[in-house]
Every structure is written in C-alpha cells, then in structure tokens.
Amino acid sequence: MITAERKPFDEILELVDGHNKILVAGCDTCVAICLTGGEKEAEILASELRMKAQADGREVEVEHTAAIRQCEWEYLDMIAAKVDEADVVLSMACGIGIQSMAEKFAPKLVVPAVNTNMLGMPQEHAVWLERCGACGECVIGETAGICPVVRCSKSLMNGPCGGSHDGKCEVTTPEKEDIDCAWHLIWERLKAQGREELMHKIRPPKDWSKSSSGGPRKMVKEEAKPV
C-alpha cells in the first residue's frame, strides 16, 4: 500500500499562511489505512489549526472533509462544494490524491499536509516496511521474492556488498535501527528453495528507463479502454 506521514505542524502552518478559509481534506483509502490522512486525522488536524489560529488571535475558518479516494475524480464531486468555499485545500492524501485534487479543482490552491514516503507492507499494527520501488521491471522472481531495488540500500543487482555483517546492512535507519541485508535474505531463501545457483550468475545492469529515469510513466490498458 501507499504510505504517508504527516508533515511537521510548522510546515503545514507555512503552507496555509495568509489563508482564512481552510479545508482539510482527508482520503479514506491508503492514507486512512496507514493512520495518517483519513477523515479521523483530518478532523484532528482541523482542530489543531483552529486552536492555533485562535491562540494567535487570527480569524480563520477550518473545516474538514474526506473523499473515499482523492485519486479518482468521480469521488471528488462529492466534496466539490466544500472545496469551492475554501481559500486553500490542505490535502492529506498521498501525492497522487493531492495532484488529482489540484488538477480537478485548478487553479484552486491545494497543498500537501503529508509526505508520501513509500510502497510499504504492514509488518504489524502501525509499522510499515518499504517493499517496492515501482521500478517497472520486477526482478524478484530470481531473488526469492525479496526486492533488491528498495531493500538493498545500494540497489545492487549482484549483492551482497562488503558491508553485509551478521545478516545486517551497513546502513541503519534514521532511528539507528538495524536493517536486514536484502542480499543475505535472498541468499538464505534461495538456499531454502534449492535455487542458490541463481546467485552465481551475473545479473546485468537494470533498465532504469522503465523507472522514473525514463521520464513520467503512463500505463494504458487498450483492452479495457471505453469504446
């Protein structure tokens, strides 16, 4: 799923600075599931903004709403009336939803209240781990179902590098927690699958033109396009 984290409150304040009618717009799909930008979190942010405005002695109206999916325009019609009334929309959707709103309601000012950070897997309640880089050319069929593009800190195609120690990567998370060495995991799982010979061959350089290095991507399903 797509995950996002709320921006620091000060940054949010800067983004809406000078506007007196703010609509906090949540999205009840991915960002709601990752507990960042659903209707509940939109209501909390709206309450905080009202308190802050009042504490600063500013006259600011802050409302909140949520779309079922901000990334699909059909769902945006339902919140269009509230958007119309606002000077600025503070979207809590992922980067897709925010841009979808900005495009649908252009030139309405739509600003992000969250930082979209990854395609993550929920490890346990309220913990997500990055699992996919949307690189456009999946290699995990040969890497035991473990993605070296995002789970190896160097995106190696032929790992592990010399920094792998006790199954851990030489890099740690910003919180200084250990990160599993993806290539160590790949090696262990390939062995368990009896396929370790896959580690013997040199994997060629990746075709990054299929990722964002090739420019903005577009996907069309001809067979499903409306006739």
Binding site: D207, W208, S211, S213, G214, G215
Partner: protein, 314 residues
C-alpha cells in the same frame, strides 16, 4: 578571488572583464581512448578562441571525460571551459571533480542539467540528477567564495572558478526564460552561453526582456552560433533537436545552394552575418561558436567576422 581581483583569473574572465568581445568555441571529446582527437581540435582552434567548451558526455553519449579532455586542450595552448552535467554525478562526484579539475589547472566551468539519458547511447541508465543546474552553480559558488562544501563543511583551499551557465532563449514558456537566467545569476553564474541561435528576431526579443531586468549588467552573455554544413544539418536541427528554433527561411537559404563546398561556404557566410548582427545587440558580450564536428570552420568564421587577433589581457 585572486590577488588581482578576478574570481578565477582565467583568460575568458579577463577578456570579458576588459570589455572585449569574447569568442569561445566548443570541442566534443571522442568516443574512444584516442588522445590525438582532442589534441588536433585544440591545435585547430588555438589563437582563434579565448576558451573552448569541452562537452560532458554530450547528448548523453559516452565520451572521454570533460576533465581529461579539458586538461588536454590546456596542454595544447587553449583554455578550457569544462562542462559539468547533473545527469551523471551526484553532489559528491561533482564536488570531487571540480576540485580535481581545479588542481589540474582548469578555471572555467559550465554548469548544465544535461541532455536526458533517453537521447543517448545508454537509454537504460539511471539518471542521477541529485542537483539541478541552478543548485550546481550555487554549490560551486559557495565552494569558491565561502570555501564551503555543499554540506557546509569548510575547506582550506577553495577552487578558483569562473562559473558559467547555459540558457535557451527559445524554450518555453518564453516569458519565464529571462527570469530563469535571473535565477542562475542569483545562484552565482558569472557568464552565460545561449543555445544556438538561428531565429535572431526571437533572440533579440529575449534580450529585450533580459535588459529590462538589467541582467546584461550582471552576467556576461555569449550568443550561441552554429555554422550549418548544409541543408541536411539545418533540417535535422529544425526537426530533431529539441529546443532549437530554425526558421524556414534559413532552411530555404541552405537549400538554395549546391551541396558540398558551396553549402559549407554558405553556412560559414551565414554564421559570420549572424555574428555581426548579434554583436550589435546591446548586452551581448561575445559569441560562442559551436561547430559540432566541424571545428575546422571556426578559424575562417572568426577571421571573416573581424574578430582577430584575439586579445591578450594581462
């Protein structure tokens, strides 16, 4: 800052600072480890240009590095303007390379974003683009003036650099192009070379915007000239090179002469006419002649345009 008040004290900087009309050329390094190619090109241009751009994996095609070729041209008596693109290096490499270039005597650098990988011979490559050209200019300026790396750490000896940038007056949105140059000046660019100009009226219009913002007084502007070898080159540039604006009358003019030497003569004549016209535009401090794989045309063009001898500024 050098002892005599120059930023880098390069020949190019001195010529421009003295108010002389500058001439720069361009050399593309070869796609092989053949060291003689650049030597020959340098010898061809010696005495005809104040400095020569050394392209950096031009059009995203792998070639000898701009640093190595830059050192080579300097060894052959022509000052180098080392091009540096953001496509192939992150901020560590771009800082390491400029320090290395400086140690080897290179004083001019041209900061570019770089043509996209998809235009070159390794379209599957990952584009680095850690910084963009504007941030690259700022990083080099801070290294030079503040003795600071991009991270803020200090260095004991700063690289002496004359920092250049490029701008394309023919790209869109047209109304933003002069403002973008203004941003590059704010970031720290000392000189600027334009994309090749074929549409002179449009360039003049752009220069009006530049002058209205007073930018011509803040940066040295070198107008880009590309001599056309024939109608094929004109059509190719018009139809296939992004960001180049070749008016139909130029294509027609090149088509009106016979292929081969007559067309080449016409191409050089056209280049000379354009240099003379551009030199009259207020705010144009020089020309940048990009004779792509036709460096041998440069001496004649420079001479016919009345730009010889090249000034020697102490």
């Amino acid at each position: 800052m050098t002892d005599d008040g120059y930023k880098a004290g390069s020949n190019l900087e001195k010529v421009l600072a003295a108010g002389k009309f500058a001439v720069t050329g361009e050399c593309g390094p070869p796609k092989s480890a053949d060291g003689s190619v650049i030597e020959k090109k340098a010898q061809m241009l010696k005495g005809y240009v104040d400095a020569v751009n050394i392209t950096d994996n031009q059009t995203a095609v792998v070639r000898v590095s701009s640093m190595a070729s830059g050192v080579q041209v300097q060894q052959n008596g022509v000052e180098a303007i080392m091009q540096m693109t953001c496509r192939d290096r992150n901020r560590l490499a771009m800082q390491a390379d400029i320090l290395g270039a400086s140690v080897l005597g290179i004083k001019n650098v041209l900061c570019l974003t770089g043509d996209h990988m998809s235009f070159g011979n390794h379209p599957e490559a990952k584009g680095v683009h850690d910084l963009d050209a504007i941030n690259l200019i700022k990083m080099y300026k801070d290294m030079r003036d503040e003795k600071k790396f991009q991270c803020g750490e200090e260095m004991p000896v700063a690289p002496a650099l004359y920092i250049g940038c490029a701008e394309n007056p023919f790209a869109d949105p047209f109304e933003f192009r002069a403002l973008r140059l203004q941003k590059k000046i704010a970031a720290g660019a000392d000189f600027m070379q334009t994309q090749c100009i074929f549409n002179v009226p449009k360039f003049k219009e752009w220069m009006k915007e530049v002058r209205a913002l007073g930018l011509h007084q803040e940066i040295k502007i070198l107008a880009g000239i590309t001599p056309l070898k024939g109608v094929g080159a004109a059509k190719y540039m018009k139809n296939f090179v992004p960001g180049i604006d070749v008016p139909q009358e130029i294509v027609d003019r090149m088509a009106s002469v016979e292929k081969g030497p007559p067309a080449q003569a016409e191409g050089k004549k056209l280049a000379v006419e354009m240099i003379k016209e551009l030199a009259e535009v207020e705010g144009v401090a020089g020309v940048h002649i990009m004779a792509v794989e036709w460096e041998e045309a440069v001496p004649e063009i420079v001479e016919t345009a009345g730009l010889l001898p090249r000034p020697a500024v102490a």
